[in-house]
Symmetry: C2
Subunit: 249 residues, 2 copies
């Protein structure tokens, strides 16, 4: 039990949720370490959604809603932390959800598929019917034939650098959530949401609900056209620097 | 297997070592997350020992060598990552090694004790014969009667904020290793080594060998007297800021 008076309560609750996901065979040991890395960046970013992150989330939503073949590719951490939000996004947009693990095992993929089904995700792609992508050496090159392979827009939260770069090289529109604005993933993607994944998904669901309610085609096209990912990432660097200065006082 | 060509090879080797320690029941799931947090700070600090970290390591060594009752308090991560260096420091200085876990279990304590014995640590304190310290609410208040309880100098690498603050309040000299120069542990300690724990321990062993070789009493006293922890931490803040600026270019 975490005391609510602990200075970093929200972060500790999330951490326990992830450990729980690990113990249930959904998240991996490496996923726990990756989560810790994100925690440190979130701490430096002030543990709240910045204006630039909110803007990126809106633009990512515009891409998802206007794509021909979008796909949401999830790993163990994402499935553990935001299963409800994945299901909501899936219900609103009809986006298929592909399971793609950095440390794949058939057993873990099946557990995650069951977990997502239980939250109401209908269309889960397991990657068992896969094609090997160019530009990647590892097992991570394998993507689902009906998901990432044919997608024009791939939403890959908490992605690793090699894969994000390979997907971008293949000409796909890459959307990601990454708390490290300096990572290869952040820099290689079309739209990088520098935010903690549960906050990002909650906002994404809100935007999707808003934009789905009536015709916003022109607005969505404008959002996409006006967005410059590298410029937007600079706002996160600046925020980290500002916060370091104030913490160091 | 991690490719040696990966841009962050050394960090990935360490990560695998920790996952291995977790699978052997030495490190904890929460320890994996904490390690990830450290990784992010190390990345921002340039993944090498800074001048200020080297200086703090030397001063920490001075405290260890001149203490009446020093103790080295280790957790699962420290036992996993630097068992050989713990044994060397123990052999050179005779410092007892106490096991103190944030998520304690008798089974894990016994595994860590066996692990340390196998590396040659003779005097392992398990904390089974404990006394409850003031100023802490949790299980972490329990410390070994013959270790931390009677120690004047406690070396607590990778410590949590509550305990570091409580030990300092009790008037003990607190030495720590913490990659987050802004943490409560870093700020509450007498000497904070802002460095990755394997690099810090290797340097500490070297310094201990050097200072043990002949009489350095006056030099050790000077090192202690001249050190200002908060001033030294500021060098790490400055380094992180400088590195963020260059990474963001």
């Amino acid at each position: 039990m975490v005391s609510e008076e602990h200075p970093r309560y929200a972060s500790l609750v999330l951490r326990n949720k992830l450990v729980d996901g690990y113990e249930r065979g959904i998240a991996s040991a490496h996923g726990l370490i990756a989560h810790g890395r994100g925690e440190a960046f979130d701490y430096l970013l002030g543990e709240q959604t910045s204006e630039s992150a909110r803007n990126a989330t809106k633009v990512a939503c515009a891409h998802l809603l206007t794509a021909n073949h979008p796909v949401l590719s999830v790993n163990g951490n994402t499935a553990t932390l935001v299963p409800g939000e994945i299901a909501e996004l899936h219900a609103i947009t009809g986006i298929p959800v592909e399971i793609n693990l950095f440390h794949p095992s058939a057993q873990r993929i099946e557990r995650i598929a069951d977990h997502l089904h239980a939250y109401g995700v209908v269309n889960v792609l397991t990657g068992f019917d896969f094609i090997k992508l160019a530009h990647i050496a590892s097992d991570r090159a394998n993507v689902d034939k009906n998901g990432t392979f044919k997608a024009d827009v791939v939403f890959v939260p908490l992605e690793d650098g090699d894969r994000a770069q390979a997907l971008a090289k293949l000409g796909k529109t890459v959307l990601t959530v990454d708390l490290n604005p300096l990572s290869r993933t952040a820099v290689a993607s079309t739209v990088t949401i520098v935010d903690e994944v549960t906050r990002a998904f909650k906002n994404l669901v809100s935007f999707a609900q808003h934009f789905k309610s009536e015709s916003h085609e022109y607005e969505l096209d404008l959002l996409k056209a006006r967005f410059d990912n590298i410029e937007n990432l600079k706002a996160s660097y600046a925020l980290m620097q500002k916060r370091l200065r104030s913490l160091a006082r």
